[in-house]
Amino acid sequence: MLEIENIIFPESLGDALATVETDPGAVVLGGCGYLRLGSRKIATAVDLSKLGLDTITETEHSYEIGAMVSLRTLETDSCINVFASGALVRAVENIVGIQLRTCVTLGGSVAGRYPFSDPITALLAIDAQLVFQGAGRISLQDYLTGKGLRDILVKIILPKDERVAAFTSMRKSTTDYAVLNCAVARVGTDFRVVVGSRPSRAIRVEAAEKHLAANGLTRETAEQAGLLAAENLSFGDNPRGSGEYRRKICPVLVKRALIEVLDAA
C-alpha cells in the first residue's frame, strides 16, 4: 500500500529543487506508473505537473522534451515520429498499453535510470542531453554512469541532426519488458551502438562503433558489429532470461538494427 503524508505542487522549478535539497523525505513524482508497486511510505511527494514540463518544443538545433511529457504524447508526436527514423517511438510503443503510456513520463523513465528501460537505450543512441534544475546540462551517458543526482530533471534534449537510427528488442510477449534491447544510429560517418536490459543498464559498445566507423556499414560489418557487442559486453541472468541467452541474441538484435539503418539509406 502506498502512503503519502504530504503532497506539494511547487509553483516554480526553484521551489521544487529547494524542497528536494532540504527535505530528505521528498520524492519527485513522475508518471506514477511504478508508485503503487510494493508498499511504500512517502513523506513529501513533489508533483511537477504545474510547471509546464509536459510539452515538446522544437528549436533550431534540437527537440526539447519536457520531463513530464508522457510516453503516449511522445509516441503520437509527428516530429518525434520522423526524427532519428522514429527510433524513440519504436522504443516506447510496446510498453504495456496506451493507458499506461498516457500516465508515465519520459522524465520519470530517464531519472529512474531503470536498467530495463527501452527509451533510455534509444536516447543513448540519439546522444540525448539532460537538463537538471540544479546540475544544469549533462549528457545522458554521464548521468547513467554517474552516481545519480538529487535534483529535478527539467527536460531531455535531442540534438537535431541527420541521424538514421533503429531500435530492436526481444520480448517474451509483446507487452512484456525487453529481455534485451538495442538501438543504433548513424550520424555522418559515426555510429552509435547501444545495448540495454542486459539486464544491467544500457551502455554504448565502443568496439562496435569504432569498427563501423572504420569500415563503414555493410551487411558484413553489421554482423561483425553484433559479434563485437556480444564479446565486449557483460550479460547477466534475471527472471526474463539468462546471460547465456542474452549473449546469443545480442548479435542478432545489433545486426538487425544496423541493417534497418543500412536499408533506410
Partner: protein
C-alpha cells in the same frame, strides 16, 4: 485532502487521502463501472478518460486531479450501449469484468484513430487484458462497429 474536479461533466469536490489512487476514489464516490484487476498497471480494467485520453485510474493519484476532466462509462451510456450491442452480438463480453474499461478504450480509439486497421486496433488495445474471450470476438465486434474494411 480535498480538491475540485470534473467528473462526467459535473463539478465534484473530492475528499481523499494523499496516497489514494483515482480508481479507489471513483469507486468510493459510486462510479462502480470502474474495475480494478491487477495492482500493477497491467490490465486496463480501470481505464477512464482523463481530459479525454484513456488513462489507468489505478496509477493516477487523485491528488493530481484538480481542474481536470474525468470521464467514466456512466457518462457515455448511449455510445457505450451502441458498442455493447456489437460486442454482445459476438458473445465476446463473457464475464464482463474487463468490459467497461475495454469499452472506454475502444470509444477513445474511435475518436483517435483516423483509419483503423486490425493491426492498429490491436496495438491501441494491447493494454486491455481479457482472459475469457481470446480477443478474436472482441475484434470481430470492433471491426463491425467501426466499419473497418
Amino acid at each position: 485532502m480535498q480538491l475540485e474536479t470534473t467528473i462526467n461533466g459535473n463539478t465534484v469536490t473530492l475528499d481523499f487521502a494523499a496516497g489514494e489512487f483515482l480508481s479507489e476514489t471513483l469507486r468510493r464516490y459510486g462510479y462502480l463501472s470502474v474495475k480494478e484487476g491487477c495492482d500493477t498497471g497491467s490490465c486496463g480494467l480501470c481505464t477512464v478518460w482523463l481530459d479525454g485520453k484513456p488513462t489507468l485510474s489505478c496509477s493516477t493519484l487523485t491528488a493530481r486531479m484538480q481542474g481536470h476532466e474525468i470521464t467514466t462509462i456512466e457518462a457515455l451510456a448511449g455510445e457505450a450501449e451502441e458498442f455493447a450491442r456489437f460486442l454482445v452480438a459476438e458473445g465476446a463480453e463473457q464475464c464482463g469484468f474487463c468490459a467497461p474499461g475495454f469499452a472506454m478504450t475502444v470509444l477513445a480509439m474511435k475518436r483517435e484513430l483516423k483509419e483503423p486497421t486490425v493491426t492498429s486496433i490491436n496495438h491501441y488495445l494491447a493494454g486491455n487484458l481479457c482472459r475469457c474471450s481470446g480477443y478474436k470476438g472482441q475484434m470481430r465486434a470492433i471491426v463491425k462497429y467501426l466499419g473497418v474494411k
